[in-house]
Symmetry: C2
């Protein structure tokens, strides 16, 4: 059976393996970003810790996922949009981190504004991290 996941891997010249499919499916079926720990947990003891590290690294290199900047020391990953290709990522990401449930989401609908930089500075990418309360948590607390 050929799935979307297989295609995605194929398009990136990666061999199709169980761990890659599994880890990739976690991203596809999950809105929001995942930290390394989340992936190990959700994969359910199935893979070696090292495999997760290497798989994530490979995915980042191929432009399938990207890292999300956060203020804590946890590196989080999220699926890239289609126009992210190897070595060249989409410029404007807006991420939302909920203070309550600690979930991280990519807000695809929201465009990052262009930033006016001081003279002489050249911007390549602009990443925006908004922290606050997400819709679900806000409704819960009312």
């Amino acid at each position: 059976m050929t799935t979307d996941l297989d295609d995605l891997l194929k398009r990136n010249h990666l061999s199709i393996t169980e761990s890659r499919k599994k880890i990739l499916s976690l991203f596809v079926n999950h809105t929001g970003a995942l930290a390394h720990g989340d992936i190990e947990k959700k994969a359910g003891e199935k893979f070696d810790r090292v495999t997760v590290y290497r798989t994530l690294q490979t995915f980042v290199e191929k432009g399938i996922i990207h890292t999300i900047p956060t203020s804590d020391n946890m590196v989080r990953y999220a699926l890239c949009k289609d126009n992210c290709t190897e070595g060249h990522h989409h410029d404007n990401h807006v991420h939302f981190v909920c203070k309550e449930c600690n979930k991280t989401e990519c807000l695809d609908k929201v465009t990052a504004p262009s930033i006016e930089l001081p003279y002489g500075y050249v911007a390549k990418t602009v990443e925006v991290v908004v922290t606050g309360i997400c819709k679900e948590c806000r409704e819960k607390s009312q």
Copy 2:
């Protein structure tokens, strides 16, 4: 001798010690952000690694410095503006990370734009990280 550093510590109800003054001075005398490693290096073998960890943590708690979100896994710290107080930080930070020299700067002159969030979401803070080439590196490469 009473210095600005002493004052800053006093204002935050911290006892004035050598390591705190030294680490704080690194921030004051350095435009830009510092990672844990930078601080250990610049302090010059003078302090225990653990002291640096604890001092940074204390400073963050007191609102003297804040962490900067970045896509790599290095946590960087920078001085807070005066209106950062314990538990309540200034809302809009714009940071610039140079791809060449890897320096991180706070762009105080640049204001972060307000972000239009989806319905139901409430923003508390907006952090903007711009990566690109800083003025110095750009001039060098020309």
